[in-house]
Symmetry: C2
Subunit: 224 residues, 2 copies
DNA sequence: CGTTCATTTGAGAAACCTCAAGATTGGTGG
DNA sequence: CCACCAATCTTGAGGTTTCTCAAATGAACG
């Protein structure tokens, strides 16, 4: 995907460091961005000032697609680690897409994947208790790394407990307690001194924990 | 948008009644659907059988875009009222889009709007108490009607309390209590006998209720 | 080596869920 | 037209999860 983009559209590259913003909510929409390396969080800001992490983007993911319809970006895109971000003018991309339909396919698939991911988040938020949501978060991160060919037995969270909690709809204390509980059950292990590096013996153990912790679903199944 | 589609792409029309499914999770992806009339819910089903309403679609909205990347639909699309749904072959749409770029714009804006909407849902779920989420749900429905030129001072919910609760991440009892509270404060009114028809004196009152009920946000703002 | 920020842990409070009992409604058949 | 049935909805009481508040510990940095 990255190669395809490189070969067909003018690209601007930019190195970012943790805390840098790629674009901000309200800013006029003009370009889409693609993660070449690093990790990014998307932060939504409500009218009343409530702040919400609504997504995490990894290598190959697109940023800024929520700005296409409104004409301005719908959230802040913030780097949470050093990385490289590519930007593409949306109008240039559309021009190129008419000549190279594969570009269109790539863009549509990226948007589609993000929709699926959002729905997964909603599902977790609504149906899982706090502990399981944290486990699901770690599994998501591990899966994301694996899909990109990176080692996923050991992950570094570039987020504070507060950020993770915000993303998962719970307090930082609840995140801490959940991680402690996971470590006690040997589903995860803390490496070294810092508590940001987490070893994941097996992803299956995480999945088991989620299913085991999930509330009985007689009620949930009563939708019919 | 509907006219544009009609003029440029082969369309298949279908009348649906409440409970009919447009497509089901896992079904092979081939077409996108557009709501001509009626109301639809998108239901996600997790591996373990947890069921989650992840979206509501109104006139002009597209259905099935979460199937583009995976090659199969990611959720069930279920009519919750009588309506008409149009279907368009995705490959035919792409063909037509190369000749009529406006089609592409329309599709991208539809996906973009859905991303924004999903992020709004996440924000509500994570930052608002149950009462305010119900108020936000009613405001969303009223806004959706208004944007489509329909009267929005009186809305008919084609969903049970259980479905609303599922969508909003709470139990049906909590939905009931929230509606009772809203009615007591005269933010909404029940019409007639049934409890499915709700009168909304002013959307502003709903907004005020949400802001008033929102928890103080010192904690939430501590993301920096 | 002290300061600051992040994290952990505990105890009490609050929101929400669960369970249960009645009410209300809409539909169906007598 | 009325009575009954099934489904939905409301309301209450008590339990559970999660949040809030507070304090202590640990790590990072000059």
């Amino acid at each position: 995907m990255l190669q395809l983009l490189e070969a067909t559209v003018p690209i601007q590259r930019r190195i970012v460091r943790a805390g840098d913003t790629v674009f901000q909510v309200g800013q006029s929409f003009g370009s889409l961005y693609v993660v070449n390396s690093g990790f990014f969080k998307m932060v939504n800001l409500s009218n009343e000032g409530r702040e919400q992490v609504v997504g995490l983007q990894f290598k190959g993911d697109w940023l800024g697609m929520d700005g296409i319809a409104a004409g301005h970006y719908g959230c802040d895109a913030v780097a949470i680690d050093t990385g490289e971000i590519w930007s593409v003018r949306y109008d240039a991309l559309m021009q190129a897409a008419l000549r190279t339909p594969a570009l269109l396919t790539a863009l549509h698939e990226a948007m589609s994947r993000e929709l699926v991911r959002d729905h997964d988040s909603l599902l977790s938020l609504c149906t899982l208790p706090a502990d399981a949501r944290v486990a699901g978060f770690l599994r998501y991160w591990a899966d994301a790394l694996e899909q990109r060919g990176l080692r996923n037995d050991q992950i570094t969270l570039f987020m504070t407990r507060a950020e993770i909690g915000n993303y998962l709809g719970m307090t930082l204390e609840s995140v801490s307690r959940a991680l402690t509980k996971l470590a006690r059950g040997d589903v995860i292990r803390f490496i070294e001194k810092g508590r940001r590096d987490i070893q994941i013996p097996t992803v299956e153990a995480l999945t088991r924990f989620i299913q085991h912790t999930a509330a009985p679903l007689e009620r949930a199944a009563a939708l019919h």
